[in-house]
């Protein structure tokens, strides 16, 4: 028997509570109705016409004075990025943005508050830029307005810091300029290739002058990144791939300028600008960024920007960095504890799921210690600060960073090849010079420069950047987002994979629900479910999901007590679902307290649901493939109840460690690295942050890519977990493709060097070799990687 449920006009969730009607529409809660009323009043109902049920559920109310901290000058200064006498510009991150309705509503904010001049959404970044009149409205009102229509701005501690500049843009400008100059230079060079009659000497000079002028921005502006990076490497006494390239560009330019000014030739401006253009294009392809993802989040992105400090019976919103040891903080329901401290008032129900991935809240009494990163569920509590924010246990995992680890990560095998390549090219140039010193000394300079022009390792750079770029794109398409190209090479070197358990091997979306107690009748089941769907607590949701079919019964007098449970009356029966502290029973005295929900009907305990994490689908084929080729460890903060299962799956050799603290995870990774292992770590929670950073490849698993993930080298969407073996294969193929394509490109170099050594490298030969080599590289690398992707169904 299934129940016909109506869905909420605003958010699309089932309407289960008492009927809420307005304007012929059904709503699931008062919050959704209020948003609708507000929009209706201001004639913004197009919001509902663009998409069905575009809103987000509004059951959990936002505390009224939550945004008082926005009245503080210091915080305002950091959030408002531009202001003059009358107007102020502010950007808010709104994670709720998901459809065109959001866009419509947010860009019509001025209809809701006439102090707002304009609002513009950046959909990819989920940001809204708002310009408001300082006379008519304040930052706080704007934030509250957004909250009232269901888009609560997410304001975190890292907004107090300077945002890094967008360097990608500069590269795109340079690419544009190089493309413009390259194509025009090519066009102007044709008369030179085809030969001009002597009578048209003037025309030739005109062409050469224009080319000369067009090459200036290419050399001085577009080629800048290569000079800078090459120079940086040289000052560190290290020969990277950019140094010989910069040298080749410099030599080409100098020789071309000399030829044109002296009237001895047309120079190689066309080849030079072409090379610069293609190499920049390769860089842009390789530095592909994912707007919706951030790879270097630290704790500051998770922590609130301000908390309330109690001073002489008054609460003062204070920016987080200003909190001192000895302050008393007031932590509201659903707020994060920002630093380590002692509970001095109220009872803590602290949800550390953020930190550990375990969702069952931990009860803390007065006088007990609470650690940063937990979220208070339930009433307000007061706590005494014992360690400052940056000194807290969890945040220290980030701050004691190992810059040495980063440096090792930065070297590509390309640089090694390029070193040899450069040595060989110089040897050839010297041999050529020696020969011509004997045959015809006037040609020495010509030959040496021609060899350097033709044999620059730009082909190598092109191969590397285009192959990396394409593989990043293929993996990204399959929900495996790598931070940069270097991560591909790191994956290839891995020989030891370490997994976190909770949230990584297990899923947090679907839970296993087991009933312990007397058999339930259909009516009992229906009663329990009807009550469970009233609550938004993850455990109630899990129970409601567990029973697929039930009679929806009318529940009255629903009371939900955070940290305890939910109760209500059904058909005259008083039903309670909740914690052991709340529903007292003697039956469970000596049984272990797991993640459990106790059930009582009319104050009589009838049994409990045990909720445990479920292992991911496709886990066993994935792991049995990986264990054949890699050392495997599982390291978990959890108890060892899953050890038999994992042992069977992973075999005798695997190392399984349980009840590990975040710091132990980091230490373990360090210890196996010291034994010479190249470690890949897969984890999810904040507690894995240290280990993710320490490992050679840290992969953060996210249930969906909008979730927050700690800093890592890669983000894997949980649904793609079982495709990990193919991703690893693809990363390994990357190196093979690069080497094969590079060998092909060497053939072009050999042809070019043949002409250069003979002293007859005409601009035309250079201009034919250069683009054909670049194009065949492109075709080969794209062809090969896409073919493999097709074969492996990526």
């Amino acid at each position: 028997m299934e129940v016909a449920v109506t869905t909420c006009y605003h958010c699309g969730l089932d309407c289960v509570a008492e009927e809420i009607h307005y304007d012929d529409h059904q709503f699931c809660c008062e919050g959704c109705k209020m948003v609708y009323q507000l929009l209706n009043e201001h004639d913004l109902c197009t919001y509902y016409n663009l998409n069905d049920n575009p809103g987000k559920q509004q059951k959990i109310k936002v505390r009224e004075d939550k945004f008082t901290f926005l009245e503080q000058d210091k915080i305002q200064q950091n959030l408002i990025h531009f202001q003059d006498e009358t107007k102020a510009h502010v950007d808010f991150y709104l994670p709720q943005i998901h459809c065109s309705s959001c866009l419509y509503l947010l860009e019509h904010l001025h209809k809701l508050n006439d102090g707002i001049v304009s609002a513009r959404v950046n959909f990819a970044k989920k940001e809204v830029s708002i310009v408001f009149l300082k006379e008519k409205t304040t930052l706080r009102t704007v934030a509250e307005l957004l909250t009232s229509i269901g888009y609560e701005p997410y304001i975190s501690l890292n907004q107090l810091q300077q945002q890094p500049a967008n360097y990608q843009k500069g590269l795109i400008y340079k690419l544009g300029v190089a493309g413009f100059c390259f194509s025009n230079i090519m066009l102007m060079s044709f008369p030179e290739y085809l030969g001009l009659e002597d009578s048209e000497q003037n025309l030739q000079n005109v062409f050469r002058t224009i080319i000369f002028v067009l090459a200036i921005p290419v050399f001085f502006y577009s080629a800048q990144p290569f000079f800078i990076s090459g120079w940086k490497a040289l000052t560190k006494r290290f020969l990277n791939i950019d140094a010989p390239i910069a040298l080749a560009v410099l030599v080409t330019y100098a020789r071309s300028v000399y030829e044109v000014l002296s009237g001895t030739g047309a120079g190689y401006f066309d080849s030079m600008s072409g090379i610069v253009f293609f190499m920049l294009a390769g860089r842009v392809v390789q530095q592909r960024t994912y707007d919706q993802l951030t790879f270097d989040r630290d704790f500051t992105s998770y922590f609130p920007i301000a908390v309330e400090v109690i001073k002489k019976n008054l609460t003062v919103p204070t920016a987080l960095p200003d909190i001192k040891v000895g302050d008393t903080l007031l932590i509201h329901n659903e707020e994060l504890i920002p630093c380590d401290g002692m509970l001095v008032k109220g009872r803590g129900h602290i949800d550390y799921s953020f930190v550990t991935g375990e969702s069952a809240p931990v009860t803390k009494e007065m006088g007990e210690l609470v650690y940063a990163g937990g979220k208070q569920v339930g009433g307000n509590v007061e706590m005494l600060v014992m360690r400052e924010v940056t000194q807290s246990y969890l945040t220290r995992l980030w701050t004691n960073d190992d810059s040495a680890a980063d440096e090792i990560k930065g070297l590509s095998f390309l640089h090694g090849i390029s070193k040899w390549f450069t040595v060989v090219v110089f040897a050839i140039a010297i041999l050529g010079a020696a020969y011509w010193a004997w045959a015809d000394p006037s040609k020495i300079l010509n030959v040496v420069t021609a060899v350097l022009i033709v044999a620059c390792p730009c082909a190598l750079l092109l191969v590397g950047s285009f192959t990396n770029g394409n593989i990043l794109r293929i993996l990204g398409r399959n929900k495996f987002y790598l931070r940069n190209a270097q991560a591909i090479e790191e994956i290839e070197k891995v020989n030891h994979i370490v997994f976190d358990k909770t949230g990584t091997l297990t899923t947090s979306i679907k839970q296993k629900v087991e009933w312990e107690g007397a058999m339930l009748s259909w009516e009992d089941e229906s009663m329990i479910c009807s009550l469970a769907i009233q609550s938004t607590h993850p455990m109630s949701r899990a129970i409601a999901k567990h029973f697929i079919k039930f009679d929806k019964m009318n529940v009255t007098g629903v009371v939900e007590i955070p940290g305890k449970g939910v109760s209500g009356y059904i058909d005259g029966n008083y039903v309670q679902l909740g914690s052991r502290q709340w529903i007292q029973t003697s039956e469970l005295d000596n049984k272990k307290a797991l993640s459990e929900v106790l059930v009582a009907i009319n104050h009589k305990y009838i049994g409990r649901f045990i909720i445990s994490n479920q292992f991911r689908e496709g886990l066993s084929p994935t792991l049995s493939f990986l264990k054949k080729n890699y050392k495997i460890s599982v390291i978990s903060g959890d108890s060892d109840k899953d050890e038999p299962f994992l042992r069977e799956l992973l075999g005798e050799k695997a190392i399984l460690k349980f009840q590990q603290q975040p710091e132990d995870k980091l230490k373990y990774i360090k210890s196996v690295q010291d034994e010479g292992d190249h470690v890949m770590f897969m984890g999810d929670g904040l507690n894995d942050a240290g280990a993710l950073k320490q490992s050679n490849v840290g992969i953060a698993i996210a249930e969906n890519s909008n979730n927050f993930t700690p800093a890592s080298d890669a983000i894997l969407e949980a649904g793609s977990f079982n495709r990990m073996p193919v991703f690893i294969k693809m990363s390994k193929a990357n190196k093979v493709i690069i080497i094969i394509t590079f060998i092909v490109s060497v053939v072009y170099n050999v042809i070019g060097i043949y002409f250069a050594l003979k002293g007859v490298l005409s601009p035309m030969i250079a201009a034919i070799l250069m683009p054909s080599s670049s194009l065949s590289i492109l075709l080969l690398t794209y062809g090969a990687s896409n073919l493999l992707a097709k074969k492996w169904k990526l």
Binding site: H110, S118, N122, A124, K125, Y173, F180, S183, E200, N202
Partner: protein
């Protein structure tokens, strides 16, 4: 010959216009958000520059 030089200048300036347009596009963040602009133009009442009147009610 004069014609060729004239054509050259014309072709380069046309290309320069496109380069300018490209730089302008990047600057105005068109490539940063590919989703909103095509949708924004479909809204019936584009966000007005000045304060709105309540007459639309």
């Amino acid at each position: 010959m004069g014609v060729i030089i004239l054509l050259l200048l014309v072709s380069i300036s046309v290309a320069a216009i496109f380069l300018g347009a490209f730089i302008w596009n990047v600057k105005s963040k068109q490539y940063e958000d590919e989703y909103s602009p095509p949708i924004r133009m479909l809204f019936d009442d584009a966000p007005p520059k000045k304060e709105t009147t309540e007459s639309s009610k």
